[in-house]
């Protein structure tokens, strides 16, 4: 059976690219690939093009803009895990022999309207008939989970700030990060209130971004290989989950992934979707890397730092590298492939494997990919 390799990758620095269209961003990312790209299939990961760019069938439009006319293309969307879902699909199609070379292109152009409008779009990731309708933005439910977390485990607001402090520190060493300035705990706590106790520095920046990965059955010259994946869904509404502090869909996905592996090597590096500060803690605890209620202190004490026991988000994560929604999973895989191949220096981290962990919303779906060095 063929294997699925990350043959090449390209990414642009996420940011507010008012002067670039969605197609320009994709073009820039594609042109960073170090091979001639002649994909059998183009998979586009994007969430908001219909509403924010006014374009449906964005995959075909992109094929046309990028010179791939003639070739087949599909758009894949699963909310905030879209990029990882697209990569999982490419993995399934290449490792089963259905295709040999698949280009996965994650692209999102958020900054076509004012922030208020983007918040409205982001709220569509939650339950539209109830949660979005009653005025819940993308930040209110994470804020409620944060409150519950702090109360249940007795963690103070300043300790909760450990995560953004680490992410900003990591991003300072990543030339592809949107926010490359350090922050301290006080700055996080006293930043603009978004949804109390959650501040602006607990959330991701609203960025545009594009990243491209060529998945191939041919090992020559590749940067990493995908060895296993798992994908699950959970209750869609916040109150459709037993305990807001445990991500059931993620726990299930991780069990499936572990069960699928013949040899269970120790995880050496993790990329996870820290959409909000609380998201990072819940993911680390659901996966069992930290005990319940202890993730913030573990972060503060350096367990997940680049030189720690288990480096996480060495490039700054969604928090500071940025979270261009449909493109994010492709960024996660690209940065990890850079680490695994030693071709991208993210604060000196090196590793022989990587776990990519994606959660949409606060657990509506979860996607995990395991990468290994080649």
């Amino acid at each position: 059976m063929p294997e699925a390799y990350i043959r090449s990758f390209g990414l642009i620095r996420p940011g507010r690219h008012y002067d670039k269209s969605l197609y320009d961003l994709a073009w820039d990312a594609l042109n960073m690939l170090d091979v001639k790209v002649e994909p059998d299939l183009l998979i586009v990961s994007n969430v908001f093009s219909e509403c924010l760019s006014g374009q449906a069938d964005i995959a075909t439009r992109l094929a046309s803009e990028l010179g791939f006319s003639g070739r087949p293309t599909i758009r894949v969307e699963t909310g905030e895990t879209s990029g990882l879902s697209a990569l999982e699909l490419a993995y399934k199609l290449v490792s089963s022999g259905a295709y040999e070379d698949i280009l996965v292109l994650g692209v999102e152009k958020l900054n076509e309207y004012v922030s208020q409008r983007i918040y409205k779009e982001l709220s569509k990731l939650y339950h539209s008939d109830y949660e979005s309708f009653i005025g819940v933005s993308h930040a209110a439910l994470p804020a409620l989970a944060m409150k519950e977390y702090m109360a249940r485990y007795g963690v103070d607001r300043k300790t909760m700030a450990s995560w953004p402090v680490l992410m900003h520190s990591n991003a300072s060493g990543n030339k592809f990060a949107a926010l490359r300035f350090p922050v301290n705990e006080d700055a996080v706590v006293s930043a603009n209130k978004v949804s109390t106790p959650l501040t602006l520095l607990d959330t991701f920046p609203l960025v545009d971004g594009a990243a491209a990965i060529l998945i191939s059955s041919k090992p020559n010259g590749s940067y990493a290989k995908i060895t296993a994946t798992a994908h699950t869904t959970g209750g869609f509404a916040y109150t459709h989950r037993k305990d807001p502090l445990i991500i059931d869909s993620l726990r299930q996905a991780y069990e499936i992934l572990l069960a699928s592996e013949a040899e269970g090597d120790r995880i050496e590096y993790v990329e996870l979707t820290d959409t909000f500060t609380i998201s990072a803690y819940l993911i680390l605890e659901t996966l069992g890397f930290s005990a319940p209620g202890e993730a913030p202190l573990d972060v503060k004490e350096g367990k997940y730092s680049p030189d720690g026991e288990l480096p996480v988000n060495a490039g700054g994560g969604l928090k500071a590298r940025g979270h261009p929604i449909g493109a994010t999973g492709v960024y996660m895989a690209a940065e990890s492939a850079g680490i695994l191949s030693g071709t991208l220096d993210l604060n000196g981290v090196s590793s022989s494997n990587a776990l990519l962990v994606g959660v949409s919303g606060l657990g509506s779906n979860s996607v995990i990919l395991k990468l290994k060095e080649v």
Partner: protein, 138 residues
């Protein structure tokens, strides 16, 4: 900016917006809100609508400043998790200033304006929760 909201969607959801309805799973016994045909816990499609009592307890709340388009006039919003007879509900907390809200306070359901559609003049209502009189000073 537009505040348009689909009239048929609002109309179909009116029972959820106007009444405190939840779904009860006949298989695993879970009660959950908002109601749905399938149980989010066991996947069973054997569920029934149940009416919840209109009083509950505020578990947690947040004061939301970055509201989405269409909700600016009412900002900041107070959003809370409320436990009603063992079932958790997320809803707006109303008739109270943010600094007066206390976790653990008794709250009761009331019908309030959620949003106005500037283009059509339609006003949308939904259940919010307000402190039960006397509970504020607990």
């Amino acid at each position: 900016m537009s505040m348009e909201y689909s009239v048929p969607i609002y109309w179909r959801n009116r029972h959820i917006y106007y009444k405190l309805l939840a779904s009860r799973c006949k298989k695993c016994g879970a009660t959950f809100h908002p109601p749905a045909k399938s149980c989010p816990y066991c996947g069973s499609t054997e569920t029934e609508l149940v009416k919840l009592p209109e009083k509950g307890k505020l578990l947690h709340y947040t004061v939301l400043y970055n509201v989405p388009e269409g909700y600016r006039l009412q900002a900041p919003l107070i959003i809370g998790t409320i436990e009603v007879d063992g079932t958790r509900i997320v809803a707006q907390i109303t008739d109270v200033e943010p600094e007066e809200v206390k976790e653990g306070m008794d709250v009761e359901a009331v019908l309030r304006r959620v949003r106005e559609d500037r283009d059509t003049g339609l006003i949308h209502y939904a259940i919010k929760f307000r402190p039960v009189l006397g509970s504020k000073i607990d």
